[in-house]
Amino acid sequence: MESNDPMTPDDPCGAIRRDAFEYAADPGELPESRRREIRRHAEACPSCDAHLRSAAALEAALPLWEAPRPGPDFCDRVTAAAEASSGGGPSVVRRLLARRVSLPLPLAIAAGLLVMALLALEFAGPGRPGGPGAGGRGEADFVTYSADVAAPAALTLVSGPDPALVGRVLRAGSAGTTR
């Protein structure tokens, strides 16, 4: 280090500057005797006086750097994801299922039939394995779809949802409803 390094102990101005931030930020951290020394030195040393004022200005400005706050549902999302990852509490899937059961029975039956009909159409249609167009371009699409989306989702159901995925889904859901 060069001679103007404020950390150099035999440099009185350096020693003053080393204490400048503590002097400015938290007077309690410096003993009164040291504070007196610093004041006395600064009265006779315009350079250190300017340094102390500059340090004080920085300390005063630091609170201006504000951080954003987490969204109002952050805690709920984290807790839900943790619950899902633990496997002990009710999983998101189970809660969704529970919500469906609470539908009126006729509506639930109708919805179930509709889903089954749509699934039958989906798997029997062209371009899907087992359907008339199997083996064509549609199959490649399905494989891609299967690898990217369906497989992880299936794994999730078996081994417990991936917490990060659950978090993202929940956040996307809450964004859709609350924002």
Binding site: V78, T79, S85
Partner: protein, 201 residues
């Protein structure tokens, strides 16, 4: 930083989800702001994702937290915050622009420093005190992101979380002397970078 009631932590360690929710509720403002300040330049949703991942890691590691070792829970938690942020930065390979040494250089170097280009848009415009404060706050954030990682961590934990030197030393696995030195260097660098925008009285 005041720790949460140890009984709440112990219940969470035994799998009580309400207690875990209390932990998240209690620490989320400080964890969130620390993540924001340590990684920098991310969107709100990215910070939320990171903070959520962090809390999930904490949740899984909770049974391993041992009060018997005499470590405060907040120290343990902020060690996890630091580790998650460092991992994130390493994976992202964010360019950390090396900072000009704050001292040991001629003053001419400082005068020709990189901040002169933004000098004109700050104090001269004077569009209102709030706007200037916001702008200065943003400049402080930018300047902090230019600090070396270890200095930034010490600075953020001390200035914005009010952690003691001892806690920061434990979190960063450094001596108290090293922590003090990093803090001093961080502030000295910030003072020099931001001097054109600071109101010196």
């Amino acid at each position: 930083m005041e720790d949460l009631d140890p009984e709440v932590i112990r219940k969470a360690q035994r799998g009580d989800m309400d207690s875990f929710a209390r932990i998240v509720q209690y620490y989320q403002p400080s964890v969130f702001s620390t993540v924001f300040r340590l990684v920098g330049g991310q969107t709100q949703s990215e910070i939320e994702d990171l903070a959520q991942d962090l809390f999930l890691k904490v949740f899984r590691a909770l049974p391993r937290f041992d009060y018997g070792r005499g470590v405060k829970f907040s120290t343990w938690l902020f060690t996890a915050v630091k580790n998650v942020c460092y991992d994130f930065l390493r994976k992202r390979r964010l360019p950390t622009e090396p900072l000009e040494p704050a001292f040991g250089r001629s003053s001419g170097k400082e005068a020709a420093g990189p901040r002169t280009d933004v000098k004109a848009d700050a104090p001269s415009a004077k569009p209102g005190e709030d706007m200037l404060s916001t702008e200065l706050g943003r400049k402080i954030g930018d300047a902090v992101q230019r600090l070396p990682q270890d200095q930034r961590t010490a600075f953020v934990l001390r200035e914005y979380q009010g952690l003691s030197y001892e806690e920061i030393a434990e979190i960063t696995e450094a001596s108290i002397g090293t922590v003090k030195s990093r803090l001093f260097r961080a502030k000295e660098s910030l003072r020099m970078i931001l001097s054109p925008y600071l109101t010196v009285r």
